[in-house]
Symmetry: D3
Subunit: 134 residues, 6 copies
């Protein structure tokens, strides 16, 4: 499958470097995750989304990473994206959130997104915190 690549040849991309630096800070496997993703069906989207999310937004100095993860865990819970929620809970723990704080954030989402989404979010957290629990 051929694919547009005109925006691919910026080998010295400062935004991508900033994104990969941020990803390394967020998650030890982040760099590998993106590298694998680049082999997938839409490498340009993987790169552009990574640059925007982690190079443009998360790298901004105006908000600490712990707070950014509080916001993302809340949003992913009410949006119902369990896979991404697990990834960002892991990042949140690395950024200083306790497991108990993560549970509090997700519980609070029951008010705004309804109890089923909060229950699903708690289930995702449980799978991460108590792996044997399935």
């Amino acid at each position: 499958m051929e694919r547009a690549s005109e925006t691919m040849n910026d080998s010295h991309n400062a935004r991508l470097q900033r994104a990969l630096t941020m990803l390394a800070k967020m998650d030890s496997g982040g760099r590998e995750l993106v590298a694998t993703w680049l082999d997938g069906i839409a490498p340009d989207f993987a790169r552009m989304a990574t640059e925007f999310a982690f190079g443009d937004i998360y790298s901004r100095p105006g908000l600490d990473l712990r707070s950014r993860q509080v916001a993302t865990i809340a949003a992913l819970t009410v949006l119902g994206h369990a896979d991404q929620l697990k990834f960002h809970i892991g990042v949140g723990i690395r950024a200083g959130l306790t497991q108990n704080e993560v549970v509090e954030i997700i519980m609070q989402m029951g008010i705004y997104g309804g109890f089923p989404l909060a229950v699903n979010g708690l289930r995702a957290a449980k799978e991460l915190f108590i792996p044997a629990a399935g």
Copy 2:
């Protein structure tokens, strides 16, 4: 219109007291807001939702109010509830968030809920921060 009231006569309700204490801490007008709401169409729901949200959840010691507001601002942005978002941005500012941090939280939501919801959230913040801007 008649309405069930069997659960109304708990005049020493510890949860409601806890909720009103929390609301007073969150917003100087919170107590009046709930009092007015109690005259509305569903006073039982106003009371029960207040008890649950502010008496049961927000009053828990496991997460500081500033972090709770980061989570709520994020959730209300991706859920598209502009009115409640404005109320909770105000609470967040009282709890220690800067206007710039609120803007950063909402910007970040563009990644997870799409750009239109982030733009709508920023518009709500602008109406609160720069009233003349409409």
Copy 3:
């Protein structure tokens, strides 16, 4: 603006007749509402959606109209469609629901769709039940 009309010439449409009969039963102004709608931007959609919704689904004998309105009021509350919610609350009252039952249905939705959607639904009900309240 010209528009496809190949499906318009079925003047003896049994589904449309069934839909209009159902609409007349649901709401005294329903027939006029559809007639006006037919002059709008997408008369074919108005007719086809009316036939499907009221001719195919609501006209089925397997569920009484009161129960159908309980379901629709619940769904429109959690979907956040305030205008259609008001219309269907009115139909529900005509089909035998009390104002108090409507309030109970919407309150219950706080559990599943979150408190803001329940509050918005109660506000729509209030505008219908207590017009002066705005």
Copy 4:
């Protein structure tokens, strides 16, 4: 993992008793379900959500349980929560709904939430009504 428990020591909680009584009426296994849930990652949320949902809302006399289940089945269909939908279809059958009425409710949701959500809801009902069908 430590967790806030200040609200746990209310052993004579009338709301929890009312919730468990309601759950026993809704589903023979409801009491066990909550007991198991209490061992999970967020026992406080399990208890508080149970108290609110089944002790505060479902226990209210203003709406019969059959109607409450019509509303909940409709809401869970358009929200796309298949697991909770199956649980509440079961409760609805116990409360007097026929399998055919459940199918009619879910079909009707195609109008409001789109056909894919209705198809998914019907699939959940099929798994419950015709277990062998997968």
Copy 5:
């Protein structure tokens, strides 16, 4: 389980014929898919939804099938319906879309529905285009 059948006996249904003709054009297995579905839990809904979707809407001359699939792929991506998305990507390819165009449509949805939904959509496309990739 008994079921309403008053609308079933229209053996010469022009809408159903039109729908089946459209389905045969969209997907070689479409006719069989509907036939199987008719044996399921809600054969009336299967028939009525098929008639509306493919007999009333898709069969209209005002928009070419390729454009209809662009719209449907976009909508199913932001609604998060992965199964239906795969079906309609297949139809889109048959209607003239290239794999690359499908990828571009889904990428673009990251702007409007958020990055997680775009990633999930790309994953669905990948499972279809590169089956071994899982």
Copy 6:
């Protein structure tokens, strides 16, 4: 209000130039719209979102603008973003879509997002196509 500006000083930004070129092609007022937006509450987000949406995604050669607008009109209809929908309908008309094709796209969304969202989308189109209709 102070705000992070480290990413603002890239005056020769190729992505922003590409975005503004695309916006000028999409809508005669697009350049002014972005200029005004830059004075708002979150100029960095305005710029970064513009660069990503119109510089990275819309500018890609893999899909023609007419098809991109079919996708965006579909997505904004099912997401319920009426303001952005109007803007992108205008762009779609400039890119070659007829008013009738726009109506067909929105009608089709009734299948996937439910009838209320389709009706709301048609109302937005009507306000644009028949301004006097309000």
